[in-house]
Every structure is written in C-alpha cells, then in structure tokens.
C-alpha cells in the first residue's frame, strides 16, 4: 500500500475492495490502477470514444466518482470548469456524496452549493475572492470541514504528496477526437492538476468549448485525458487583472512615485512581480513617464512574473519590458500578446502559454522583488486580507512575498538588501534578501485604516479554532512598507521597537500612526529608515493624473494599436 491509501480513510479501503472485485487478476500492488480502469469502464457507456454529451455530464460524474473521493474541480482566480461544476452539483446524492474538494479556487457560487447540498464535505483550497463572505459564513456554520487554506504552490505540492485527486474536472478551449487538449492562453493550473491525477491512477474529465480535427497545439496529451464533454458556452474567465486607469487616485500616484524612486531605483530592481491593486497599476503607468524622466529605463522593471496586465501595455510599447512569464492570461489581451511574442511566452500556434505552477516558482526563486497591497498590516509588519467576515484565501501572494531560503544565485538587489539587513556578517556567507514590499494608502475603502494593532485574522482563527491565523505575508518577510506618507525600510531596523516605530512612522493619521513616538520616528528618518516624499525629492503636489501614461482603458487600447480588446464592462465607448 502506498502512503495515500494508508491515511485511514474508510472510503479508500472501500475503493480497494471494489478494485479487487473489478479486476480479480490484479496483484495487490495495482489496486488503484484497477479501480481507475473500473471507473473509466463505468463511464464509457455514456461516451462515444472519449466524447460525452453535455446533457450526460451529470450521469458521467455519477458513474466515475465514488463517495468520499478527492476531487479537483478546476477553478482558480480566472478560469472555471463551470459546466462540470454545475453537473457535479446535480448528482444523485445516493451515488455521490461527502467529496473532499481539493481545488485552487472557490470562486463560483456552485463551488459552495456543493457543500450546502452535501455533495462535498471537506475542502482544501487556496483562493476564494468572490466567495469570501459566504465561505466565512459556511465555515462558521460548520457546513464545510476545512482542511487548510493554502498558497497555490503549496496546494499544487500537496497534489503530489497527500492530496492527490481521484478525479480531476478540468477546462480547456478545444479537444481533438483522441482527447488532446488545447488549453489556450489560460492554461494556468491544468498541466499540474492533470500531472498529479493522471499519473497516480486518477480519472481526468475535461470540458471543452469545441471539438476540432486538430488542436492548435497540444497542451495536454490525449493519454492523460479520459473523457471530454463539449460545453455549449465557453468556460468562464474573470478579468481579474484589469485595473481601469480612470480610477487611479492622486494618492496612489504619489505612493507609486515614492516606490519607484525609493525602492525600484534604489536597489535597481529588474526582476519582479506586481500585485493586482491600483497602486501597482499606477507604478506600471508611471514607468514610461515619471520613471523615464528619472533615467531608469533599462535599469528597472525589465523582467516580470506577471499576468498580462493591461496597465503594463504603455511600458511594453515604450520598450521598458524585455520578458514576462504569466500565471494565466487576461481577458482581451490575447491578440496583443500574440503580436508581442518577444515579450510573452507563446506556443507554436502563437497564443500565450501560461502556467501557474511554473510562474509561481519563478516568482519565488527568480524575482528580486514582490510588491503588492493588502488590507491590514500590524505593528510587526504581518499582513492579511482576512477580515472578520471575509476569508479571501491566499492565492499566490505568499509565494511571491516570501524570501526563498533555497535561493543561491546572486543579484544586485538581493545582495544589497541582504547587506542592509545584516551589515556585520562576512559578505561571502551572507544571504541576500528578497525585497517584499507592501504598498498602500493609510486609509482604504470607506476610510478603513490599513494599519491595525491586531489583525482581524487572529480573531478569525480563534473563532474557527484554527492552529494558524491566516497571515498573507509574515512580518519577517516584509522588507518595505510604502504609503503616501513615505517609505519605511524594515531591513534597516535593528530592534522590534524600531520596526514598530518605522511602521507607525508611515501609518499616517490612522490610530497606529498617531500613536507614534515622534522623537524616535524623527531619528529613524535621519537614519534613512523612513524616507518622506521631500527626502526623495518628490513634491506631493506633483502627484497628478497627467503623469499617467494612460488615463483610461481607451488610452490602453490606443497604446496597443487596437490589439487590446477590453471586456465590455470596462468600456466607455
């Protein structure tokens, strides 16, 4: 017996018995393969070759899935196997129940309806943005038995160790009759999910938008795919990474200017990842203007692990960006990416090839900086996007926003940050440091303060009796905090008290900010731990929207030469 099947689940044992019944000739070391074959045989009656009609999708799932199975229902922060999630929701509960869902994203209402109905019981996941309020209510109400909330990379890793799916329900753009899949620009998690499932005796079922003679490129080879369901509608994709420049405020522009001059330029950061907030969109839109005037072109922001952010188009068109590898794609960017293959990773068919697992790894190991925003930061620099009524999950930010202890290759920013943190160690034995920057305005939406004495995540963990509070980025990984009041360099803090005052010193008029030790903050400023706009030669009155390379979605379309086709909800023409 292998490790997975000895975890003590009675469901697992039942499946082994069933496998023995279904394949008498098999030795006891190939039970799982037998069970997999039996599942496929049970579904085969509904299929012509591998193709199953959409109306038979639920029957297929009833035939293939067993009670208590670990099921990966593909869905992340962007693409969704929506037809299969509806089909799963409709199963006969006497045949399919108590599933253990192991999936990146809990995003569609159906994902949670599964638990309400009793189709599923246990959940291990990474991201739940749009369902953050409902998932919190269901966790409080005991409707969901929570395994853990993960980062993407962490959940992917567990697919190969102790959360290997019995059945994977995935989404692709097209399939040929043999079952070769084209996942298109939104390849995302699919190769990882299929790898873990297909090579460990699991069953892979794909929903596809169309069945074609020949797929444009093979993203998933046919021998890893067991059933194909043709969907009437293309699978849903959320335009998660589109930020309308029209909504960028003067405060965000000021904060972006501080980051560019105080961090990007200071360390010479070339390899990096950006979060999805408006502050980082402002940075992207200031590269061809403000940063160009500072003479930084070619010296910063050249290589990205990043989704195809529309806001980066002006910088790309201005020759700032050499290369971008992406977790997923972005709605409306397909033609632009295709035409800019020097910058993006594309397949022989010309379209983007994204891959979340590789890109997360790239962000962790090959980037010198992560910069992103958050909802709460405490006095130690711990940050969280959890509030008492919302659990948004982690997604990828903690992988980006963590110092990779296994990193061994040097780079200028990494070494410089390491030296700032630990000036006394001999250089040859001193670890570098990844720059992990939290950027934001001191007050967020509805005047909610960014800085708090105690994270809501702690209260939530107590209420749910979790062993770990859901901290997005741990304070000891954070190197800088940037607000409109200034830049705090935590690498230069030598004591916990200095660290706290450095944070208070950029916390503006929040309660945390107003309770600063003014003398100590002044001293930190003299040491350059805190740098105000005037220390960086920036006049807040210059933070004007005219600095943005694009001030509207329409401007982005113009920059792209008409190649960017934004989704309708972002248009005003």
């Amino acid at each position: 017996m292998n490790l997975i099947e000895t975890t003590g689940s009675h469901h697992g044992l039942e499946r082994d018995d069933e496998a023995r019944r279904g394949a008498k000739a098999m030795t006891s070391w190939q039970n799982n393969r037998g069970a997999r074959d039996a599942r496929i045989a049970a579904g085969a009656g509904l299929a012509h070759g591998k193709v199953v009609q959409a109306r038979d999708a639920t029957r297929l799932l009833e035939a293939v899935i067993r009670p208590g199975d670990r099921v990966c229902l593909e869905g992340d922060n962007q693409k969704q196997a929506d037809l299969l999630s509806r089909a799963l929701l409709a199963v006969d509960l006497s045949r399919v129940n108590d599933l253990h869902m192991v999936q990146s994203g809990v995003v569609l209402p159906e994902h949670l309806d599964l638990f309400d109905r009793g189709v599923a019981k246990k959940l291990d996941y990474a991201y739940s943005g749009p369902q953050s309020a409902r998932i919190a209510r269901m966790l409080f109400g005991g409707k969901i038995e929570l395994g853990a909330v993960h980062t993407y990379l962490e959940l992917f890793a567990r697919y190969f160790i102790d959360l290997t799916p019995h059945v994977a329900l995935i989404a692709a753009v097209s399939a040929d009759r043999d079952g070769n899949l084209y996942t298109g620009p939104n390849t995302e998690d699919t190769p990882t999910v299929v790898e873990a499932t297909a090579f460990k005796d699991g069953v892979v079922i794909a929903q596809v938008n169309e069945i074609v003679e020949q797929v444009p490129r093979v993203d998933i080879p046919a021998d890893r795919v067991h059933f194909i369901v043709k969907s009437d509608k293309p699978f849903f994709v959320e335009p998660l990474f589109t930020r309308d420049p029209a909504a960028i405020t003067e405060g965000q522009i000021l904060t972006a200017m501080l980051a560019i001059k105080g961090i990007y330029a200071h360390y010479g950061v070339q390899r990096l990842n950006h979060g999805i907030g408006f502050s980082t969109a402002a940075i992207e839109l200031l590269l061809p203007t403000f940063a160009e005037r500072l003479g930084l072109k070619g010296r910063i922001a050249t290589h990205f692990a990043l989704n195809p952010h529309p806001a980066l188009i002006p910088a790309i068109e201005s020759g700032w960006v050499r290369q971008i590898h992406s977790f997923g794609s972005e709605v409306g960017m397909d033609d632009y990416i295709r035409a800019r293959s020097d910058v993006y990773f594309t397949g022989p068919d010309g379209s983007l090839r994204s891959n979340r697992a590789f890109c997360q790894t790239a962000g962790l190991y090959a980037c010198d900086m992560f910069i992103g925003s958050t909802l709460q930061i405490d006095l130690a620099g711990n940050s969280s996007t959890v509030t008492t009524s919302r659990i948004a999950g982690f997604g990828g930010a903690p992988n980006m926003g963590a110092d990779a202890r296994g990193r061994r290759h040097p780079s200028e920013p990494w070494l410089k940050a390491g030296a700032e943190a630990d000036p006394d160690s001999p250089a040859a034995l001193r670890r570098g440091r990844k720059l992990v920057v939290q950027i934001g305005e001191t007050f967020g939406d509805k005047n909610v303060p960014l800085f708090v004495e105690r994270l809501d995540a702690i209260e939530l963990a107590e209420k749910l009796k979790l062993e770990l509070a859901p901290v997005m980025i741990y304070g000891d990984d954070v190197t800088h905090i940037v607000t409109e009041e200034g830049v705090a360099n935590l690498l230069l803090c030598r004591t916990a008290q200095e660290r706290e005052q450095a944070i208070r010193g950029v916390a503006g008029y929040t309660d945390v900010g107003r309770r600063r030790d003014r003398a100590m903050v002044a001293q930190l400023r003299e040491r350059g731990v805190i740098r105000r706009p005037e220390d960086l030669g920036i006049n807040p009155l210059d933070a004007d929207r005219s600095l943005l390379a694009a001030r509207s979605i329409k401007d982005l379309v113009r920059w792209s030469g008409g190649l960017y086709a934004p989704p309708s909800k972002f248009r005003n023409w």
Binding site: T249, G251, E441, N447, E484, Y509, P540, L541
Partner: protein, 105 residues
C-alpha cells in the same frame, strides 16, 4: 453631517495676492476647499462640514500638521467634505494654498 471648527495662530502670512480660490469637488471620498484671504495675518481658521461623523481627532491632527507646515496666515478655509481620507484632505489643503499663492484676483 458634523460641523468642526479649528483656529490657529500662525507664524507668517501666506504669500500671493489672490483673494480666494476653490479646489476639489464634493463627492464620495473627496472634498472641496474654499480658501479666502479674509483674516489678520497671524490667524488661520478652518471650518469643516463633513459627512463622516466622529473623526474630529483625525481632523485636528491633519489641520495641525498642515498649519505647522504651510503657515497659512490670513487665510480662512471652508471645507465641504464628502468623507475624504486624511491624505486627500492634506493634499487639497496644500493645493488650495498653492492656488491662492498665485498673483491675481
């Protein structure tokens, strides 16, 4: 709505000759600041009507820092606030001082 009033004695008179200026718009998260050269040189008054209740302490801190930094002597500021964040308030006040510091009417 809440009415707030702050009065400060300041070091020096604000520069420029313009009599009045207005910056900003009353909208959610935004504010308008009307500034008038209407007081003795050593005085500064800030009148606020705000849609966000109970932020008096923060206003006091924001206005205090502003007066300390810009020494807006002789100026009366009248604010209609749609619930702006403190950093937006600071920015608008600074913009108002810059505008009234111009010469002209």
């Amino acid at each position: 709505m809440e009415d707030l009033n702050f009065q400060h004695q300041v070091r020096a008179r604000a520069s420029g000759t313009r009599r009045s200026a207005v910056v900003g718009v009353v909208a959610s998260g935004n504010l308008e600041v009307l500034v008038e050269r209407a007081l003795p040189d050593a005085q500064c008054v800030v009148d606020i009507r705000t849609a966000a209740m109970g932020f008096g302490e923060i206003w006091s801190a924001v206005i205090g820092d502003f007066v300390e930094r810009y020494s807006p002597g002789g100026l009366k500021f009248s604010i209609n606030d749609g619930g702006a964040r403190p950093d937006t308030v600071s920015l608008r006040l600074a913009q108002a001082v810059r505008l009234i510091a111009e010469d002209g009417q």
